[in-house]
Amino acid sequence: MNWTATAVALFQVLVATLVAPLVIGITRQTRARLEGRAGAGILQPWRDLLKLLRKETLQANGVSWISSVGPIIVMASSLLVAALLPLISTITLPLVPDDLFVVVSVLLIGTVAVALIGLDAGSAFGGMGSSRHMMIAALVEPTVLVAVYALSIPAGSSLLSSIVATRLDAPAVILSPVSLLAVVALFVAVLAETGRLPVDNPSTHLELTMVHEAMILESSGRDLAWLELGSWLRLSALLGLVANLMIPWGLATDATVLALVIGTIALLVKLTVFAAALGAGEVFLAKLRLFRVPELLAGSFVLAFLAVTASYLVT
Amino acid sequence: MAAFLFVPLVAALVGAAIGSFNRPAAFRRFTGIGTSIAILVSGIALSAAALASHVESSVTGLLRADALSSYMLCVIGAVALTATWGGIRGSGKADGGRVYNALICAFLGAMSLAVLADNLGIMWVAIELTTIATAFLVGHARTGRALEAAWKYVILGSVGVAIAFLGIVLLYAATRESGSPTLSWLELDQGNLALNPALVKAAAALAVLGFATKAGLAPMHSWLPDAHSQAPAPVSGLMSGVLLAVAFYAVLRIQSIADAVLGPDLMRGMLAVGGLLSLAVAAALLIGQRDYKRMLAYSSVEHMGLMALGAAAGGVIGLTAVLLHILGHGLTKSSLFVVSGRIQGAEGTTTISDVRGLLTRRPGLGVPFLIAMVALLGFPPFSLFFSEVGILIAAWTRGMGWVTGIALVLLLVVFAALARLTARLAFGAPEEAESSEPLVDTSSHGPRTPLIIALSVTAVIAFVAVPLGSLLSSAVAVLSGGS
């Protein structure tokens, strides 16, 4: 067993977990400021989380084990994704490479768990959210896979770490049309997958527009804490991935302490920038009508597909 | 052993005599069965002889039993046994009367004569005799419809067979021209007569056309559905199961003569066209069929068409498959007609939509009907599966790809139509309106044993390489020129 790699992965998970609520805090704060509000401060998500963990957990009569185990599965899948993705370093775990297909599947486990939690209590809104959530997930998947397929062609590998490493070695790739198209497509997919505007409004509780919130309506206490943290972690990890694809510099390629420190700082900087940008962007966006979302996703799919085509014809 | 050549004929005569004299009815009823058994036994004995390369022939040379004739005799016996035994109670009111039994025996005798004759002329006479014997059998019910069927049957049949006679006459003329006038198979088949090809061409074409009428090949099949649907069930079984086959036997014989003189193209063309037309007609008329006896009749047209394709293809596999098909089809179809006669007796109708839910209401009839239909549709282990596959592969491998392709499409349509009709007839719940509590009638309305035997035989014969396979091989050798 390669202990260094394991330690690096654990470190990466730790950092990501600590940072994830802050990323949400930054987006919310940015948004508040731009909208002329004072905002609750970037630490507010952490405070919410700790409060939730201390509260009593209620659950509906007659639910199955999904309602109690589901949140843990969601959290674990997000943690696993954080461990696999090249966020701080390109060093991968032995036997568990950060193969794109594996990462997507692990993410989907979380998606499925949330969807099942939504159905389990038997309330009308949970089913609604679950149904919409799964529809979006189903339509996002082609975009994600095709986009990364496009990115993997120059690298000759579907390992995300190799893709990022290739970009470090040959930065020209980043600005190639293939890369631009693919990264934009991937970014849209990430927004959809993590329930951000314009696909889903994370701060709404207006019944008819809820997606993610509808599924977790019946959860409380630590269940809700895991579900929230899990989704934040997922957002941070994916933002980190997109950031590293666009700006790979700073990423540690070996396991020295210095490199890791640089990598961590780089990650924090990138995430801060991206989170702020995301928050700023959301000020100007309205949520799409639910049945416009497939058009958006179709658009991003076309971008991804063009990227693949371009990768054959242009470079 | 040569005595066995005469056994079928004598048995038929005796049977006819017993049948027509007013012996005790109990006795009379078994004349058909007795004749059938006599034919079957002689067929087996002659086959055994033929397998031992010992071809029996009568003193005058008019009768002769090579492997092919013996095999056909077995087929006649086996199918006749199924039909007569199975039909023992199904022949209408009061066991059909004197004439009925006498005519059945005469019919069987005529068919036996047709396959045993070594002389084309005698064979022709015998085949014409079958028309005469069955005319009143078809019209047996004495209804207007039966009369109509009988009239059509006699006119179309006789005209067709007359054309065959014209062909035979021309063939005789051809042999006369070559200096040794003969109508003997043996002499004709050896192919060492210098015959005038143009005359043989005309002769063979006309003869095949004529016999194809009796064999039920389109476009001369028109009598068939009417006659089959109106005749008493055992008679339909006999006609469909063996009469068609006997006529087809004549076609095969003529084909072998013509091929020796002319090469295979003419006969192949005619048979392929006839086969395809038959399949097409059967397919087209089965789609919207409403009467289950007519359905069986058109299925016979289809099977004859298939055999015609097999004969057109020729070759060892093709011809063996055709011969095997004759037996399989005969047994299956006669069982089906026997059962359909019982259904008609029990339900009082031959309209499919009036029966419905047969399997639920009358399992004693529904089960054998379905098993026989499965056999007829060509599912294994029944022998029709093997013969169909053999015929189609032979047709394709011998250069009739397009023909086979069309045939496959038509076969699919036929299959679909037959399956649909059978499903309508047999499956589903009986109509609620008839009675709230469906009456389940488990009786089989007649002896079960002949059906069981016939269908079991169909199921196993394809796996019997010895002696059946060897017999078929020798029979095919007869057709291929050696005897």
Partner: protein
């Protein structure tokens, strides 16, 4: 007998055959048709007799007597009994006589055309007459197709049969005797059966119009 007389006799008998067939096509009266059929039978018997005389075979002469008995006497008698028992002896053909005659003429020409390759271009009078036999077959068939009455169909069938017999005698001076006997017996039986069926038809349908026989169909 001289060859020319022989040829003339053959032509005469064969010509009579064709002529009677044409007349049968033309006439609507059943009785007349039966009479014509009898004449045709005589002509056929004559043809056989001429052949027998020419070939000096006693067998053929005997056969000619058989033909005379069957085709000129027995069958017409059987038929006329049937026809005479009914008042109505008018045939209403499906095709008017003129058209039928034209068809008959066309069929005769066809017969000549199709026979050429088999017979070759011999001057043999018998070979030259063969097409008449074929024409008779075709005209018989035409009668079967165009006539409505049961008796007319019988007549058509017999014309067809005469045609085959003509071909048989002209091409091969007949088939072997046993076959000839069998064939004659068969024809007789068929005619008898059809007679019986006609009788039943009369009882069932009150007429012998074949257009009534369309109950059995799909």
């Amino acid at each position: 007998m001289s060859e020319s007389l022989y040829a003339q006799l053959i032509s005469l008998t064969a010509g009579t055959l064709l002529l009677t067939a044409a007349l049968i096509v033309w006439r609507r009266s059943l009785r007349a048709s039966v009479r014509l059929l009898a004449i045709q039978g005589i002509a056929l018997a004559g043809l056989v007799a001429v052949l027998g005389w020419h070939e000096r075979t006693i067998e053929l002469v005997l056969v000619s007597l058989l033909v005379l008995g069957l085709k000129a006497i027995v069958l017409p008698l059987v038929l006329s009994r049937n026809v005479l028992t009914h008042d109505d002896d008018r045939e209403v053909p499906r095709l008017n006589p003129t058209a039928s005659l034209i068809f008959a003429a066309l069929l005769t020409m066809l017969a000549y055309i199709v026979c050429r390759p088999w017979m070759g271009d011999t001057d043999d009078p018998t070979s030259r007459a063969v097409p008449i036999g074929i024409a008779l077959v075709l005209i018989g068939f035409l009668l079967l197709i165009t006539r409505r009455r049961a008796a007319s169909q019988l007549i058509g069938f017999l014309v067809l049969d005469n045609g085959i017999a003509t071909v048989a005698f002209l091409t091969a001076t007949g088939v072997p005797l046993i076959v000839e006997l069998g064939a004659s017996l068969d024809v007789l039986l068929v005619v008898l059966i059809l007679q019986v069926l006609t009788g039943r038809m009369q009882v069932k349908f009150g007429g012998t119009d074949l257009d009534d026989l369309t109950e059995l169909k799909d």
